[in-house]
Amino acid sequence: MLWYKAWLETRWRFVFMLGSILLLWLAPQFLPFFGFRLPPGVPASRAWLGLHLGSILLYIVVANFLAGSGVNSQTTYAATSGFHGSMLFTLSLPVSRRRLLLVRAGLGAFLTGVLVAVMAGYTLFQRPGGASAFDALEYIARAIACTMAVYALSVLLACVLDEMWQFYAATFCWIAFYLLQSRFAVLAWLSPLRGMSLISYPVTALMPWAPVVASLALAGVFLCTSALVLQRKQY
């Protein structure tokens, strides 16, 4: 029944993020009604690139928003007494910490994957010139793979931080990484962020294998570390 708890914990977040994504997509459709139009001479592909790169931010927000460790309950962005009390209840159940993590992180990863697939699919759908179904699927799979690195880092942070700080710390880490990748070529080559954006298939028409492999490796390392941290943590 841990999946049940994980679902009840994340369902409104999932719905909220899905709603936010739909709202962001729908908003541009209504802009002409309010007199907003692309400046003359700006090609549609440029506008599409903006949509594509903008959605990367959403991938990160979604991944951070849906990540959890399974021990610290998540409901609001405030550490309340309920936060700690329910944690003790969880730990008093006859279930291992590894399983708590596995189920919670697994469901969060699945929901993150669904949202990223929706966003990536929409981005490709909007792309001038379109894309083949196979390419679309392959791109979606790679976008999910790259997002998993972001997600797994957030899971690791959820093992040690209260929820509010988990979100901020994860965001801060990726901003720092973004700045570092512009200075170090190796980081840029392996970067999950670039894998999702500038060197992704919709921009380069090439599949970014290095970021995908690096992202999956990072995700594995972060999740294994999360399991170790949770196992050693005292409550």
Binding site: M1, Y4, G82, F83, G85, L88, P94, Q234, Y235
Partner: protein, 297 residues
């Protein structure tokens, strides 16, 4: 079947080098209601968390239901047979009463639907109500329901009546006493409320500065300990503190108050030799036992 449900020996735990538990020894027999008393910071919650595997001990041995608890697997096996009620009584804020029960039920193969229904009706818990909208009393009742319906052999509770009004406190105590009497459930709970401990417990364990200072059957303790009041014409003699059986000595003016145990008659005879003007021997209350031991006089 092992008759000692909780056994801890040489249990030590420190936080950042500060000892919270020091060589703690604890035994709770099956079927007893044991009150775990101590001041704030005495180590009560730490002990409970160690028993539940939420904290790692620095040293010592824990046995629950007669089995050593020395790994996560053994801790999980023990947790399958016990219920825990935390001090703040907080459950998942994203669940309703019904969802909380539905979530908890599958973890316990011995879950009793009859008890679930019985306590739902008794407590009049609104099944569809979200947990954050429940009063603290209702949350306590829900936690008790979750602990009791699982058919637990042992209930561990951290301040189960904190924050409850007197009527609710009385109800909870009555339910616990009934549970121990009818199902033979062992109940181990920490509390500051000496009156309620005295009301339902047959055993007490008093902890101070991480060590057990009193442990035993409540009636035995009450019959074993005596308060001896001695009034002298001048200052009470210092030898009083060294008399055999004296646990604590308090002096106020010409009066000496001794908390003593063991052969009290022999002690009184020895004390009379020191020439008091009057001697009075009184039974002690749990409150006196507690205060004398934790004040360290």
């Amino acid at each position: 079947m092992n008759d000692i449900i909780i056994a801890a020996d040489g249990l030590s735990k420190s936080y950042d080098g500060k000892p919270a538990l020091r060589n703690l020894r604890l035994e709770v027999p099956r079927g007893s209601i044991c009150g775990f008393l101590g001041r704030n910071g005495a180590g009560k919650t730490t002990t409970l968390k160690l028993l539940l595997g939420m904290l790692r001990r620095d040293s010592g041995v824990i046995r629950l239901f007669g089995e050593p608890v020395d790994s996560e697997a053994s801790s999980i096996a023990a947790r399958r047979r016990l219920g825990f009620v935390s001090e703040d009584k907080d459950l998942y804020p994203f669940m309703t009463v019904e969802q909380t029960i539905r979530f908890t039920r599958p973890f316990f193969p011995g879950w009793r639907r009859d008890l679930e229904e019985k306590y739902l009706d008794l407590f009049q818990l609104p099944r569809k109500k979200a947990v954050p909208k429940l009063s603290k009393g209702m949350r306590t009742q829900l936690m008790l329901l979750l602990a009791m319906a699982r058919g637990a052999e042992l209930l561990m509770m951290d301040e189960p009546t904190s924050g409850l009004d007197p009527a609710m406190t009385e109800d909870v105590l009555q339910i616990l006493a009934d549970l121990a009497a009818s199902d033979g459930t062992t109940i181990f709970f920490s509390s500051h409320q000496l009156a309620e401990v005295e009301q339902i417990c047959d055993r007490v364990c008093i902890i101070d500065k991480g060590q057990v200072v009193v442990d035993g059957v409540l009636d035995d303790l009450k019959s074993d300990y005596r308060r001896i009041l001695l009034v002298f014409e001048g200052t009470p003699p210092r030898e009083l503190a060294g008399l055999p059986g004296v646990d604590h000595l308090r002096q106020r003016g010409r009066t000496a108050s001794l908390l003593a145990h063991g052969d009290v008659d022999a002690l009184v005879s020895r004390a009379r030799e020191l020439g008091p003007g009057s001697v009075e021997v009184r039974p002690v209350t749990l409150k006196e036992l507690f205060l004398d031991h934790v004040r360290g006089e």
